[in-house]
């Protein structure tokens, strides 16, 4: 009995102690959330607190999920840009062309030197001035903290003098302005201490007042924002991975906006009196990557046959509710080097008959099928639906597809443990064609898991690295596209649109195809 008492006492103390420590954290959350909950209970979206405007938005982890508010950490810079906290020297416009943003003017003095003149009078949210020295310091810090920095934009050295920033690149880089738009290169105050919760001090229209990683962020407007004071006083962004809950929250008025809405939900918000759906064709695409080390897939006809069994139109029209465009080439036609004009397509429609003929010619039938393994992400419902569509089609023509899903595909892909990989990439988030080429099409591309190799393609890629003229660049990319289409190492399926749905109280929403921006100072909400 004594022993039992002791055990109980100890366990109880342990549990109570730890719970007590936890409740302090929980209590803060409770207070903050209870205020917003009472607002929700009033069924009004805008809090009438002293006439202040609040906007609430929701999205899944993929769009809003940040581990911290440190732009140098991992992918957090991307999210901070979406949040409207951090900004870059340049910003992509609606055509994915880089425009000066924090920079006033720039000059490409020689192949490897770029001189930027920063705008005067811009300050970080903590009041410190944005000088060339500040930018230099933050880039240095980012480079030392994040390995992706060097692979995205190679810099030899940076010099700072007043408002003049000079960057030297090791080789000629015709797309440096695009690369500088990558939110990893957000400008922040690296000389002041970076708060563990609220992160770094940046230049954007909003500043974080509360942050819970992977859960939500609350922000107040930056009244000293250089671009003009934002109209909305408070912004609350919540992460909800349950798409249902997200939809219902908007329908209930608990949130005003959903960012990166899955296209399948679009039909719920078709009432244009209440909701607006903003759409922009992003460069995000679904595609199949074939493993060319796999015996059967070395035959280009098999690859083409598989590509022919993808009902791209059905996929775009139904699974994406019309918010996607079938892709028989590589890049979407919104890019100057994209689309399929002038390209000879060997696969240009959904044709299971022709596919069956090809497969039979290779010696496989439904009774004696070719067995292939397809891998994909377990959480990407778009891809999963595509594989669900593809599998029975392939089975009917003599290819038995087994599907394996993973949360983390990297090791599987690197080990070459697959025949086909179904993936979804932003093909050119900064508008720069080189990005994807270096990943997928060159012989030692970082994401070329299928080990595709074509020396002509490699030559094109090399040429592109040093070509500065836009029309020349476009021609090279088109040439490369033709070769890739002929070789079919990957089968592209559809280019997605980025969807932002919001109730009609909200105005000033600009849907940018880069997926980098959401919260801007142009947003407003009616009372």
């Amino acid at each position: 009995m004594k022993k039992k008492l002791l055990t109980i006492a100890v366990t109880a103390a342990m549990v109570l102690g730890l719970v007590a420590c936890g409740s302090n954290g929980g209590n803060n959350e409770t207070k903050a959330v209870e205020t917003s909950a009472s607002e929700t209970a009033a069924e009004s979206v805008v809090s009438e607190d002293d006439g202040e405007k609040t906007l609430k938005a929701g999205a899944t982890t993929g769009f809003f999920g940040a581990e911290s508010l440190d732009p140098a950490n991992n992918w957090d810079g991307w999210i901070m840009s979406i949040y409207g906290i951090s900004e870059n020297l340049f910003r992509l416009d609606d055509n994915l062309a880089p425009q000066p943003w924090l920079v006033d003017s720039y000059e490409n003095t020689d192949d490897t030197t770029w001189v930027f003149t920063l705008k005067d009078g811009i300050t970080f949210s903590n009041g410190n001035a944005v000088t060339a020295e500040a930018v230099k310091k933050c880039f240095e810090r980012t480079y030392s903290n994040n390995t992706r920095a060097a692979s995205t934009l190679k810099m030899d050295s940076i010099e700072a003098d007043g408002q003049t920033l000079t960057i030297h690149t090791p080789e000629a880089n015709p797309t440096i302005l695009n690369d500088l738009c990558d939110p990893m290169f957000g400008v922040y105050d690296a000389e002041s201490e970076i708060d563990p919760e609220l992160g770094a001090s940046c230049t954007g229209p909003y500043v974080a007042t509360a942050f819970t990683a992977m859960t939500e962020v609350k922000m107040d407007k930056n009244s000293h924002y250089w671009g003009g004071e934002p109209a909305i006083d408070h912004i609350e962004l919540k992460i909800m991975d349950d798409v249902d809950a997200l939809n219902m929250a908007l329908q209930n008025g608990e949130i005003d906006m959903i960012a990166q809405l899955p296209a399948a939900s679009a039909s719920l918000f078709s009432d244009t009196d209440t909701y607006t759906i903003g759409a922009a064709t992003s460069t995000r695409s679904q595609f199949l990557q074939f493993n060319l080390e796999s015996e059967a897939l070395k035959d280009v006809n098999i690859r083409k046959a598989i590509s022919m069994c993808i009902d791209r139109e059905g996929y775009a029209d139904v699974v994406f509710a019309g918010y996607a465009k079938p892709s028989y080439g590589i890049y979407p036609d919104t890019l100057s080097y994209g689309g399929t004009e002038g390209i000879d397509l060997s696969v240009d429609k959904y044709d299971t008959e022709a596919a069956k003929a090809l497969v039979e010619a290779a010696g496989y039938t439904p009774e004696k099928p070719l067995e292939l393994k397809l891998v994909t992400y377990s959480y990407n419902t778009g891809l999963l639906q595509m594989t669900d569509m593809l599998q029975p089609e392939l089975e009917a023509i003599g290819i038995k597809l087994s599907i394996e899903t993973y949360d983390v595909l990297d090791d599987v892909l690197q080990a070459g443990n697959f025949d086909i990989a179904a993936l979804s990439y932003a093909l050119a988030p900064t508008g720069n064609a080189q990005y994807l080429i270096n990943m997928l099409f060159v012989s030692d591309g970082t994401d070329n898991y299928g080990h595709y190799s074509n020396s002509d393609v490699d030559a094109d890629a090399q040429k592109l690295e040093t070509t500065f003229d836009t029309s020349e660049r476009d021609a090279i990319v088109k040439d490369l596209t033709q070769k890739v289409v002929d070789d079919c190492p990957d089968a592209f399926i559809a280019s997605q649109q980025l969807l932002i749905v919001y109730n009609n109280k909200v105005t000033g929403v600009d849907v940018n195809p880069s997926e980098y921006y959401l919260i801007t100072n142009t947003l407003d909400i009616a009372e």
């Binding site: 249902d244 639906q385 599907i403």
Partner: protein
């Protein structure tokens, strides 16, 4: 007396029904009107109609046909798994009871540890570790269900062991194996079978739960929990995709529960 007869009749009806379900689930797979996996996106989100009695889902697949196809997965997995844990759990329990001493203590300690975890949580954790796939989720649930049989059979053996007819058998010179198999087991079987029948329905529910969380059979699957989980995303456009699999689950579980109750009643009376 009439009551006794009614109870027996009820049991027989239910047993026939369950056997019918199991057999039917197997047979029906070959005779579906629409292919359960062939997609037909142009027919997506059809409300229940003449052509598709339960409607279609997001990829145009017939909900009714998928429910019928998925029945076998849930039913057979549950039945086979319960049989497996029945055998294993009982074996452990009987060994522990008969061997006694330190073997008993160790085995009991192990079951205690397993019992310390809330059932579903342990299953979720194990399934999470093992990964997706029908085999893994069955293993995960099995890891949780075997305990009941171990404990139950152990206590049953202990209570029977010292009863008179066992002592009589021992005096007659029967060896331990004979005693176990000829005398103890037959007398233990009844309460264990009741538990098993009830566990089948519980297993079906738990497996649906695991599938719902994404831990069940791998794609493509027509398993009820999995289809409901996917259908959640378009609950507003096609609520029938959730309602009908849910009803199917409900009906199946109720039938097996009734079977378990009927068994218990017969045993109690008889």
């Amino acid at each position: 007396m009439k009551k006794k007869k009614m109870i027996k009749v009820r049991l027989i009806i239910l047993m026939v029904l369950c056997a019918g379900l199991l057999l039917g689930a197997w047979i029906v797979r070959g005779h579906l009107i629409h292919e359960p996996f062939r997609t037909n996106v142009r027919q997506a989100f059809q409300a229940p109609c003449r052509e598709y009695i339960f409607g279609t889902d997001n990829l145009g697949r017939c909900v009714a046909c998928r429910i019928l196809y998925g029945a076998a997965t849930s039913l057979y997995a549950a039945v086979l798994a319960v049989i497996a844990v029945f055998i294993i759990g009982t074996a452990v329990g009987v060994t522990a009871a008969y061997a006694g001493g330190i073997v008993d203590r160790i085995l009991m300690k192990i079951t205690l540890v397993f019992q310390a975890f809330p059932n579903f949580i342990l299953a979720v954790a194990v399934a999470g570790m093992l990964g997706t796939g029908l085999k893994n989720s069955v293993l995960a649930l099995g890891a949780v269900y075997w305990i009941t049989y171990a404990k139950l059979s152990r206590s049953l053996v202990l209570s029977i062991r010292d009863s008179e007819y066992i002592r009589a058998a021992k005096i007659c010179g029967a060896g331990p194996t004979a005693i176990i198999f000829k005398y103890i087991l037959p007398n233990m079987v009844s309460p264990l079978i009741v538990t098993a029948a009830l566990d089948v329905s519980s297993f079906i529910l738990s497996m649906a739960g695991l599938s719902f969380l994404g831990l069940g059979p791998s794609r493509p699957t027509a398993e009820w929990g999995a289809t409901m989980s996917e259908a959640k995303t378009f609950i507003q456009q096609a609520p029938w995709c959730i309602v009908f699999p849910g009803l199917a689950l409900l009906v199946t579980v109720v039938i097996f529960n009734l079977l378990g109750d009927a068994l218990r009643d017969v045993i109690d009376e008889g």
